[in-house]
């Protein structure tokens, strides 16, 4: 029946091929965040920066809370995804998941409370389509970073693949939403929450779920009948 473990060792050694080790996590994290920065720069160059950005951050506390929260989610999510894909780096992944949760609490929790109780609550409502447009723009700006993080997770050996992919998608989408925040001129509460703070959740559906199916196919191909 199954060969002995000693024979398996011989066979694995006999068929050994050289491999290229995964790049260091720190370098990958910096690369992803830099890609987010480049995408943000490209977005601003193409769409133009919000001329009232500094004033908006000062005047609308929810706008600022969501912006900061998205940045924290982006850093936490990207690091959680990268660390989660490398065996032995689980402690860093767990800490980064904590940072992601903190960012989500700032962006959605604090941002939501401030949005509906602060001056944003009095701003005329943006059309519903504006939230979809901002989430789509965030996804577009997130694509380069998402491709790199998801590629790293798929190439790695995550202990919890779905969690790593969800973190990758959330982090990348938060980067995109952070960039989108810089040129959006809609400040009403519902729009800030739906189109900006909650946009990373869309990343889980749009990016993480398809990647999850790819990973499952790679890891567990269907048995021949």
């Amino acid at each position: 029946m199954s060969p002995s473990s000693e024979r398996l060792v011989e066979s694995l050694a006999h068929n050994l091929q050289p491999v290229r080790p995964l790049p260091p996590l720190r370098r990958m994290a910096l690369l992803v965040l830099a890609l987010g920065g480049v995408a943000a720069g490209a977005g601003v160059a193409y769409l133009g920066a919000n001329p009232h950005l500094v004033e908006a951050a000062r005047r609308y506390p929810a706008f600022l809370a969501i912006w900061v929260g998205l940045l924290v989610v982006a850093v936490g999510g990207v690091v959680a995804a990268l660390a989660g894909a490398v065996p032995g780096r689980e402690p860093e992944a767990r800490a980064a998941f904590g940072v992601t949760a903190l960012g989500a609490a700032i962006a959605v929790g604090l941002g939501g409370i401030l949005a509906f109780s602060g001056p944003e609550a009095g701003v005329p409502a943006a059309p519903a389509a504006a939230s979809g447009l901002c989430a789509s723009m965030a996804a577009l700006l997130a694509l380069p970073a998402a491709a790199v993080v998801l590629g790293f997770v798929l190439r790695g050996a995550p202990g919890r693949p779905l969690a790593s992919l969800a973190a990758a998608a959330t982090g990348a989408m938060a980067l995109g939403s952070f960039a989108n925040h810089m040129h959006c001129v809609q400040f009403d509460a519902a729009h800030l929450l739906m189109g900006h703070a909650l946009a990373p959740l869309a990343g889980v559906v749009l990016l993480a779920m398809p990647a999850w199916f790819v990973l499952r196919r790679l890891a567990d191909p269907p048995a021949p009948e």
Binding site: M1, S2, P3, S4, S5, E6, L8, V9, E10, L12, A13, H14, L16, Q17, P18, V19, R20, P21, L22, P24, A85, V86, P87, G88, R89, E90, R155, G156, A157, G159
Partner: protein, 186 residues
């Protein structure tokens, strides 16, 4: 894998780095030295001693597949521990899924099950294939499929837990299928 000492870790680190460059000798030395550690690791996590070798082999394959995720500037033990732990968890999950599938198959088979008094007749090919199985697997298959005992009854008769008997029987079915396929080939 906290029982891997600093000196041992540094040796494994060197071998793994060499293996990543394609050095088969270093890789074989590494895996051979890891075998007793992996057996102890699996033994500490499994109820059935008979499953240890299977799990060790799964861990070896997991190490092989994940070898590119190791970076030589870091300690080897945490990497190995995580790969081994993940492989054991995956294996236990797979077994859980398989056992739940088998439970539904057994329910369907019960309607036409033979009885201990009138065992199911066997074709000569099946008889020959059955004889080639390891004793433990043959016994499990015979008790369930030929004598018609329930898993619980068969497990009681053998003196092992029902889950372990199901695993033996499942391996027996798989081996039987392969043996029968071989005999069908021209």
């Amino acid at each position: 894998m906290s029982w891997i000492g600093e000196e041992q870790d540094s040796r494994y680190r060197g071998w793994m780095a060499a293996a990543q460059r394609g050095d088969a000798d270093a890789y074989q030395r590494l895996l051979t030295e890891l075998l007793p550690l992996l057996r102890a690791f699996a033994r500490a996590r499994l109820r059935e001693a008979s499953d240890v070798e299977d799990v060790v082999q799964n861990v070896l394959v997991a190490i092989h597949r994940a070898r590119h995720t190791y970076r030589a500037e870091r300690r080897f033990a945490p990497w190995l521990g995580a790969v081994a732990r993940n492989a054991v968890i995956d294996e236990l999950r797979r077994r859980g899924r398989r056992l739940s599938r088998e439970v539904s198959l057994e329910a369907a088979a019960e309607a036409v099950a033979p009885t201990p008094e009138s065992p199911a007749p066997l074709s000569p090919e099946m008889q020959r294939a059955l004889e080639q199985l390891p004793a433990a697997q043959r016994e499990a298959v015979e008790l369930i499929q030929i004598r018609g005992l329930s898993v619980a009854e068969a497990a009681q008769r053998v003196g092992i837990k029902p889950g372990a008997l199901k695993v033996r029987a499942h391996r027996g079915y798989r081996a039987l299928r392969l043996l029968l396929e071989e005999t069908e080939e021209p």
